[in-house]
Symmetry: C2
Subunit: 189 residues, 2 copies
């Protein structure tokens, strides 16, 4: 943010407004306070029988790695509507959105991931413009070393464990920034 979106002034300060506790972009001309807040990423874990539908990313970040269909929640839509839309756009699949499954805060990149379980009634799907390939995987086939995002790997790991346990409670967690390995521990195993 370099200019005030209300008045066009370039006199933007990044400071704590009176009565607030966090720094914001504040316009020195018109006084407008510009709040910035985390975004919600919604997606589906679509299943057809024992298999899970995944997408090979055609775009950056993480082009050429596998993911679940997911993207930013848009104004005017509910969480489940957004999850269904992303699945249609990225995987060409019409799903029945089920229960909310994983909720993962990513505070360092200002995102909250929310993934729903979803039923894929018939195995009809096709790569959307953001996908190179879309296919069904059973548990043994999941490309664990080629998953695009840690949120997706965590969701899939939870899913296969919970499936064995026979229940899918909503799983809420936080993914902090990956800590660099200190030099004296590198190569220590």
């Amino acid at each position: 943010m370099r200019f005030c979106s209300s008045c066009g002034s370039s006199r933007l300060d990044f400071r704590i407004p009176d009565g607030d506790s966090l720094p914001r972009f504040v316009c020195g001309e018109c006084g407008e306070i510009h709040y910035q807040n985390p975004k919600v990423v919604v997606g589906c874990l679509p299943t057809c029988g024992d298999k899970v539908l995944m997408c090979l990313r055609a775009i950056e970040p993480r082009r050429g790695l596998w993911t679940l269909p997911a993207g930013f929640l848009e104004n005017g839509e509910s969480l489940s509507a957004g999850a269904a839309r992303e699945t249609l756009e990225e995987a060409g699949a019409t799903v029945e959105v089920g229960e909310l499954y994983t909720v993962i805060s990513l505070p360092q990149i200002h995102q909250v991931y929310m993934v729903f379980r979803a039923a894929l009634p018939c195995p009809e799907f096709a790569a959307g413009t953001e996908s190179l390939e879309v296919r069904l995987f059973d548990e043994q086939e999941i490309p664990w070393d080629r998953i695009a995002f840690r949120t997706i790997a965590r969701t899939l790991r939870n899913f296969f464990l919970d499936r064995k346990l026979g229940a899918f409670p909503t799983r809420v967690s936080v993914l902090e920034r990956r800590q660099p390995v200190p030099p004296d521990l590198r190569g220590a195993g």
Copy 2:
């Protein structure tokens, strides 16, 4: 949004960018696309024994009505950290944030409410600057006709029902815009 926050130009169009499906503010000068997305409201349902902690709002909207402590999730914090912060700010209470309880989409106002159950280990609390009064209510005392938001009323109704049932699954729902009552049904009961 009246000016581009990247270049300061007033040549903003509200149109569907190439390859997109929804209208966005697009700068006619520098080409920047300004995405706008829903915000997350996080809060707590703090309990102390059989009682629930609520806040009487000191600010608009809904000044003079009762709510649970809640507010916008900030960049850099997890959902549960945000819920704890809002409870400390509005109710002067330090809680142990528990499980995610209600998740309510409000598509018409571009918000998602997420309320956690929380334990208030000792009944110490005080009205923050956004509250006129903070107090504990047992179920019979809840001021049902003076609740600030439908999300809060729904959360409380679910809670007292689930407490009788002895389990608190995460409850995901949507609150659509309240439909006006058609003239021919007004007064019909």
